[in-house]
């Protein structure tokens, strides 16, 4: 009888503390990627390829660039743009396609909720995992920039948290939008928002290329705020104005997260 009692008491689910739940989710994702480690390792290459191609290949024929009143090399201009854009791309891929697949097809979260995990644990765990991954990618990119002599100030170290901030803002909003999607076709709308931002948010050329009214539109996009923030840091010219970008991205992410929590509750628990 004592043996039976002991068996039953260990089988009963006990509530997890917050940190424990997130750790379990992180561990799950690490296990998943152990089978596809090459996919994980090569994840940071895309912005590097863009830097080499556009920054250096096209940069060789670009003339006349000034930034903050100083003439700068085109590759110095493009590199921070690539960091910000890849933080957005990476976060959105995870928060939209992969999240949708786990939510609708794998039914992964339904399975998790059968354990003592709560929806908030799932949201926090997924976001933490994405942050860990992008942090590694950004750090690798920064090392490459350093090797290519594209880092001009100690402020550049702050690019890692800045990229994480961009990633979490886009990740939260992307997840929030994904909870409203019904089919893969809806992802075209995400592409429609993401691709113009990637191309037009002062990533490849300065906003001076636009007429004034259009320039204003570009400057309020979240990716532009991220690009400018990263550029101010790698070129070593941050100012109090940089805080505007930080606050903007924080608010963007906070709104997204609030929506995700509410939506996950209603999607998974009813």
């Amino acid at each position: 009888m004592a043996i039976l009692n002991a068996a039953v008491s260990t089988a009963v689910a006990r509530p997890l503390r917050g940190g424990e739940a997130a750790r379990l989710l992180l561990w799950r994702n690490i296990l998943v990627y152990r089978r596809a480690w090459l996919v994980f390792v090569t994840g940071f290459l895309e912005p590097v390829f863009y830097l080499f191609s556009i920054g250096i290949g096209v940069g060789a024929i670009v003339t006349g660039f000034t930034y903050a009143g100083e003439p700068i090399e085109y590759r110095d201009f493009v590199a921070p743009g690539m960091i910000a854009a890849s933080a957005m791309n990476g976060a959105l891929l995870d928060a939209t396609f992969n999240f949708f697949f786990k939510l609708k097809y794998n039914k992964l979260y339904d399975q998790m909720l059968a354990t003592p995990l709560r929806t908030v644990d799932i949201a926090v765990g997924e976001i933490l995992w994405n942050q860990l991954r992008s942090g590694i990618y950004v750090a690798a990119f920064l090392v490459i920039m350093l090797a290519m002599d594209l880092v001009h100030s100690w402020w550049a170290i702050l690019v890692v948290p800045a990229a994480l901030l961009i990633g979490s803002a886009f990740g939260a909003v992307g997840m929030a939008l994904t909870t409203y999607m019904t089919s893969w076709q809806d992802f075209e709308k995400i592409t429609l928002a993401m691709m113009p931002m990637f191309l037009f948010s002062a990533t490849f050329f300065p906003v001076t290329a636009y007429p004034d009214w259009l320039r204003w539109v570009v400057e309020v996009t979240p990716l532009y705020r991220g690009v400018v923030l990263c550029r101010e840091l790698t070129l070593g010219v941050p100012s109090w104005g940089s805080l505007v970008s930080v606050v903007y991205l924080l608010a963007f992410g906070a709104i997204g997260l609030a929506v995700v929590r509410r939506r996950l509750d209603s999607l998974l628990l009813t």
């Binding site: 089978r35 596809a36 090459l38 996919v39 090569t42 994840g43 290459l45 895309e46 390829f49 863009y50 080499f52 191609s53 556009i54 250096i56 290949g57 096209v58 060789a60 024929i61 670009v62 003339t63 006349g64 660039f65 893969w184 076709q185 075209e188 592409t191 429609l192 691709m195 113009p196 191309l199 037009f200 490849f204 050329f205 290329a209």
Partner: protein
Amino acid sequence: MADYADTGPATAPTAPSGLVAGALRMGDYWLTVLARTWKGGVITTFVTPFFYVLALGVLLGGFIDADPATLEGASTYLAFVAPGMVAAHAMTIAFSDLTYPVMGMLKWQRIYYSMIAAPLAPSHIVLAQLGWVVLRSLFACGVFLLVLAPFGVFESAWGVLAAWLVQGLVALGFATPVLLFSLSIKGEESFALIFRLGMIPLTLFSGTFFPIGNLGPVLEGVAMASPLWHGVDLTRMLTLGRLDWGMVAIHVAYLGILAAVCWWLAVRKLAERLVS
């Protein structure tokens, strides 16, 4: 009883008379796929290339000193980059149509198995699928070229027409190796790698955005081995009207041989996967 005997043979399956006749039997299947999925591809097929032209060709091009001597004979950066983007677009369509969809037909939905249960051979199935990709690329690149026309980047009408037809060859030059790859792998994780280590570097370093001479002698040699470079250079010669017939022959031969060899291998691979 007599009725039954009369209708029996007429509805019984008959083997197709030849390769093309067999492939044409897949026509209604691919039309149905088109009817059900075309909406999903509108933005990536038509809007994306237009935005790339605008961002990199027009706006970034505004900061580029256009000198025909450094731009392979193009008098503006837009005229240089436009044919590169068209060829890259044909490649992208081949990649997107022959990766996940093929895995779906092979492993998830197992459509290939129902196809060969009809009197169709793997060679018919491969021809129909490649034909579908080539037609789709021709359509998308045709629209792309029409969009570019008002920007004044073309030298002559016949050159554009030839450049358009060349996109069918470019699409086939990528469709066959990608199909072979998709038929050869076990799990879909490998697709992330072929996009990341194949498609993206090909797009960026095959003379699409900058002349491969800027890469330095060693990497220039590597870029010349890239099938996309052959497609891009051929397209660019045609749109700029600066033909070097020797190079034309090399480009066509390279893409043609690549397509033929991979086509043959893909048919064998499909037969191996479906029959064994």
